[in-house]
């Protein structure tokens, strides 16, 4: 059965520090991969997506993610976190040929000054 795991429920980083949020998936074939961010009271916003090709994907707000087939991972990174990055982050694979997204349980990011 398909599944997605975000092992870190809550991460706290200092402003200016680097960030990596983990995402592992289990699918029969490589799915399309998305990262969304949800700020309090806001809708989900797409940060970046991977379909094929270059395994390092650039997104909005300075985020990037790297697809590693051998590890079934799609970790999200940012070199220097800003206080406004505090939010909930969701990894969401989309099985090829399916329409709906399958979300992980999310990682809540807290940024301290």
């Amino acid at each position: 059965a398909q599944s997605v795991t975000q092992p870190d429920i809550h991460i706290t980083v200092s402003e200016g520090a680097s960030l990596e949020l983990r995402c592992n998936y289990s699918y029969g074939a490589t799915p399309y991969l998305f990262w969304y961010v949800q700020s309090p009271g806001q809708g989900l916003q797409l940060l970046l997506k991977y379909f094929s090709g270059d395994t390092l994907v650039q997104g909005i707000k300075g985020f990037e993610a790297e697809f590693k087939r051998s590890q079934s991972s799609f970790n999200l990174r940012k070199p220097s976190v800003h206080w406004s990055d505090a939010a909930e982050y969701f990894c969401a694979p989309n099985q090829t040929g399916a329409n709906n997204l399958f979300f992980g349980t999310g990682t809540r990011l807290t940024v301290i000054p």
Partner: protein, 115 residues
């Protein structure tokens, strides 16, 4: 242009009441999705429309849940005889002409609380 809008933003219902949640997708978007997000969880798929056709309703948790999109634009999610376990944020998303690679654009959600 305007994004996806949902109304009401907050709804409180007594157990057993019927509720209707509205979604206005981005103009011209063919695909429309409903998701349910319980507290502390990621969104879970409920149902999917392509224009007015409901192509997938596999995520609807029970026959108390019903969704429609009669004219291929606005959609309504109806929950009959609400139960406490229905308390959640209901998210609507739309995307352009059909492709599983299309970005889904989400609305702010409707927070439903069943007392």
């Amino acid at each position: 242009g305007a994004g996806v809008s949902q109304s009401p933003r907050y709804k409180v219902a007594k157990r057993g009441q019927d509720v209707a949640l509205r979604c206005d997708p981005i103009s011209g978007h063919v695909s429309l999705f409903w998701y349910q997000q319980a507290l502390g969880q990621g969104p879970e798929f409920l149902t999917y429309f392509q224009n007015e056709a409901q192509l997938d309703k596999s995520g609807l948790p029970s026959d108390r849940f019903f969704a429609e999109r009669p004219e291929g634009s606005v959609s309504t999610l109806k929950i009959q005889r609400t139960q406490q376990e229905d308390s959640a944020v209901y998210l609507c998303a739309s995307s352009p002409p059909t492709s599983d690679t299309d970005t889904q654009y989400f609305g702010p959600g409707t927070r439903l609380t069943v007392l």
